[in-house]
């Protein structure tokens, strides 16, 4: 079970700025451990962000994304008090969903 995401969503003009920190190892599959064994790749594969049930961002990620990734983006619309929901799924099938209220 991974740690919760840290999400900030705020209204800037007519769009909503969302900033997300995710807690994930993001192993590339290129590293070896102390015994020389390859550490298997383990990374977030899909990210979906919805606002009022409508998808505003869908992303496919790979091993080039950093450990504990930071994602920042804007979408048109949104109002104070609306909910923004963020979900990720990694290549092991682990999932995490968190939500934030637009401030």
């Amino acid at each position: 079970m991974s740690d919760p995401m840290k999400i900030r969503a705020s209204l800037v003009g007519d769009s909503t700025e969302v900033k997300v920190l995710m807690s994930h190892e993001m192993e590339t599959g290129q590293r070896k451990d102390a015994q020389g064994q390859t550490i298997p790749a383990w990374f977030i594969q899909n990210v979906v962000v919805t606002h009022n049930g409508k998808t505003v961002l869908a992303a496919q990620w790979g091993t080039a994304v950093a450990k504990n990734p930071f994602l920042s983006f804007k979408f048109k619309g949104g109002a104070k008090g609306d909910k923004v929901t963020i979900s990720w799924t990694d290549n092991r099938g682990d999932k995490r969903t968190d939500e934030a209220v637009i401030a």
Partner: protein, 267 residues
């Protein structure tokens, strides 16, 4: 539209580098500024806050009754006045040592259990102490450093720390002051703070703990000292030892007056 944005970025990146002498340091400063907004230290803070409020240990109690120097349960501003003398323990303690003390006295952990994973490593070996430290230090952000030297043992720790700072030893015959006692010293490409000036000590001390991007971990001030000892080929610095606390006391006190600015993010 996109192309124009890229061009503007490139122009902004080139201009200062061409004009400044210390262009490497400038570029590292820009790198830090870019990372600052999404500092993963916040993930440690959130986990630490949950740990602080969670009923844990053999006695199944929270840490909310822990006295960090300002009274039981008062977290706000506590880190800006640490290390300090604690009458109940009859010794000077830094934050990490005090947390271990509370985990033992309040939650009923054994000392070795409380000190398991003082420095974390990845997902399988997360450090509770690093998370708790991140949370408590974050509650002092913006609070001016005000480390006391009123008790005789605080004064003693300061003096011992000062001696340690200038003590030369190890295979390289290094002291802390060898690298941190002059302006413009560096290790690889990283500028080292001159800890003998108030400004240098303030800037260095108030930006720990920090998320180290190169390690993907949040590191505490105890870790910083531990790793400095390793780099200067000193004997391993024991966690929460008198030497560790004395050095912390010396550096924290020298940072007095500056607003605390952590947890920060560093390369």
């Amino acid at each position: 539209m996109f192309a124009r944005a890229v061009f503007a970025l490139a122009a902004a990146a080139i201009a200062p580098a061409a004009s400044a002498q210390g262009s490497t340091a400038d570029e590292i400063a820009k790198y830090r500024a870019a990372l600052r907004e999404g500092n993963p230290a916040e993930l440690w803070q959130a986990r630490g806050e949950a740990l602080w409020r969670e009923k844990r240990g053999p006695k199944h109690v929270t840490l909310e009754g822990c006295d960090l120097g300002l009274g039981p349960g008062i977290v706000k501003g506590a880190y800006a006045q640490l290390p300090r003398y604690f009458a109940d323990a009859d010794r000077v303690m830094d934050l990490e040592t005090r947390l271990v003390w509370c985990m033992v006295k309040l939650q009923g952990y054994t000392e070795s259990d409380a000190k398991r994973n003082v420095f974390g490593s990845g997902n399988d070996k997360k450090s509770d102490l690093e998370a708790l430290t991140a949370y408590i230090t974050s509650e002092s952000r913006g609070v001016p450093m005000k480390v006391p030297l009123s008790h005789a043992k605080e004064m003693e720790a300061y003096r011992v720390g000062e001696k340690l700072f200038f003590f030369r030893g190890g295979t390289h015959d290094f002291a802390c002051a060898t690298c941190h006692g002059e302006e413009g010293k560096r290790i690889r490409l990283q500028d080292l703070p001159n800890l003998m000036t108030a400004e240098g000590a303030q800037k260095a001390y108030t930006t720990w703990p920090a998320y180290r991007v190169s390690q993907g971990e949040l590191r505490t001030f105890e870790w910083r000292l531990y790793d400095c000892f390793r780099q200067q080929r000193f004997p391993e610095l024991a966690f929460g030892s008198e030497a560790a606390i004395a050095l912390t006391m010396y550096l924290a006190r020298n940072a007095n007056g500056a607003p605390y600015d952590g947890p920060a993010i560093k390369r």
